[in-house]
Amino acid sequence: MSKTIVPFGPQHPVLPEPIHLSLTVEDEVVKEAVPAFGYVHRGLEKLAEKRDFHQMIQVVERVCGICSMIHAMCYCQGLEHLMKVEVPRRGQFLRVIWSELHRIHSHLLWLGLYADAFGFESVFMQFWKIRERIMDINEATAGNRVIVSVNQVGGVRRDLSPSKCDWILDELNHVEKEVKALESTMSNNYTVKKRTVGKGILTREMAYELGAAGPTLRASGIAQDMRQLQYEAFDELDFEPVVETDGDAFARGLVRFKETIQSIDLVRQAIARLPQGDTFVKVKGKPEGEVVQRVEQPRGECLYYIKANGTKFLDRLRIRTPTFANIPPLAAMLPGMELADVPVLILSIDPCISCTER
C-alpha cells in the first residue's frame, strides 16, 4: 500500500483551537505525524517591552484563558521574589482557592470535550452543565467568569466574606455529587473503554524523556506535580499527586477526573484553614534581577523566566507552557495508531494552542 498524507486541521470539529498535523498514513495506520503551528501566535512575550510590569499581569492572563488565574499567579510570584515581597497568609490561601477553582473548571471543560471527541454527546453536556456552577462561583467572587483578574503583585485584589465561603462550599457539594455520578461512566463504560484503552500509550520512560508535563506525565506513572514545591499555601494542605500507570488515553482521562475531585477537596481544605488578615501588601519600587518560577497548571508544569532591569518595563519574559512540553510526546504517540483514533489522542494531551504559541 502506498503512503498517503492526510492533513489534519487547522480547522477540525474536534479541535477547539487551530493546530495542523501532517499525518503520513499507510492502510489507515499513522506512520508519522508532523505538527505545524503559527495560527494563533500573538507575540505576547514581546509585549513586555510596551506594557509596564503591572499591566503585564492582565496580558499574561490572556496567554491562556482557561488557566488565566494560574498564569498571573506564577508571574506575580516571580515578581514578588524579585521585589522581596511576602504575600500575607490570607492572600496565599485565596490564591490557592481561585487557582484550584480554575483547575476544576478547566478539567471539567476538558472532560466534556474529550467525551465529545469520541462521540459521547450526553456526557459532554453533563460535564459542561456542572462546569457552569464553577463559572458562577468565579463571577460571584472574582467578578469575571473565566479571566478573573484577581492577582496583583503583592497579593490578591478581592476578598471572600464568610457567607461567600459558605456558599462556595455548598455549591462544591453539588459539584462533587454531580461529578461523582459520572464516575462509573468515565471509568467503566463500554464505549469509553473501547475508544481509549490501549490507545496512544506513552511508557514511563518515553513520557519522562520526551519531557511530558502534568496529567500526561502522571498518567504514565510518574508522580511529579509542581504543587509539591509547596508554593503559596500548599505547604499546609494535604495533597498527593494523582498517578495512573497505564499511560494510555484512558489513564489520562482518569487522572484528570480524579484531579477534579481532589481539587474540590483542596478548595474545602483551604476554606477551612483560611486565616484572618490582609489580602495584599503594597509594593514599592521596581523589580531587578532574574528569576525562574514554576507552578502547576491544569495542563501541567508552567515555567516563567523573568529578567527585570530596575525600570518599569521587563527586559525579557519567557513563558514555557505545559502544552509546549506535551507536543513532542504527542508526535511520538501517534505513529502506529489508526486514523480514527487521532482526534481522541490529540485531545488526550489537553492541547491549548494559544498557550503553545503565545
Binding site: R51, Q55, Q58, A140, T141, R157
Partner: protein
C-alpha cells in the same frame, strides 16, 4: 440510565431561554464600565493604568472616551480612580451592530470657569 432519563424529565431545564429570561448579575460582577462624569476630574490615571489602553482622556476638550470593545473588564481603572467615579455595572454590555466609543463630556460650570480665569 433509566433513572437518569426520568430525572431529566421531571427536573428543571439546565439552560435559560436567554433573551426572554435574563439572570440578574452577581453583586460584584464586572459588567459594563461607566463614568459618573460630573464627579470626574479628568486626571487621566485610568487611561495610564489601563492594560488594554482603551480609555483616552482629553483635558483640553473635557472629554472622557472609552472603547468598550477593547476593554477587557479587569477593573484596574475602577480600583485606581481617586474620585471613585468609575463604576462597573453588574449587567454585561449588550452586543451591537456598530462599534461605537462611549464619549462623555464634562460640563464645566460657568462659576468654576470664572475662578479659573481669575
Amino acid at each position: 440510565m433509566i433513572k437518569n432519563i426520568f430525572k431529566n424529565f421531571v427536573s428543571k431545564s439546565a439552560t435559560r431561554p436567554y433573551p426572554i429570561e435574563v439572570r440578574p448579575g452577581f453583586k460584584n460582577a464586572r459588567g459594563e464600565l461607566d463614568n459618573k462624569v460630573s464627579e470626574c476630574t479628568l486626571c487621566g490615571i485610568c487611561a495610564k493604568k489601563c492594560p488594554s489602553q482603551c480609555i483616552t482622556v482629553s483635558r483640553k476638550e473635557n472629554l472622557w472616551e472609552l472603547n468598550p470593545f477593547a476593554c477587557v473588564y479587569c477593573g484596574i481603572c475602577v480600583d485606581a480612580c481617586p474620585k471613585s467615579c468609575l463604576v462597573h455595572y453588574t449587567e454585561h454590555k449588550k452586543p451591537a451592530r456598530v462599534k461605537t466609543n462611549l464619549v462623555l463630556k464634562k460640563e464645566i460650570s460657568p462659576k468654576l470657569k470664572v475662578v479659573a480665569n481669575a
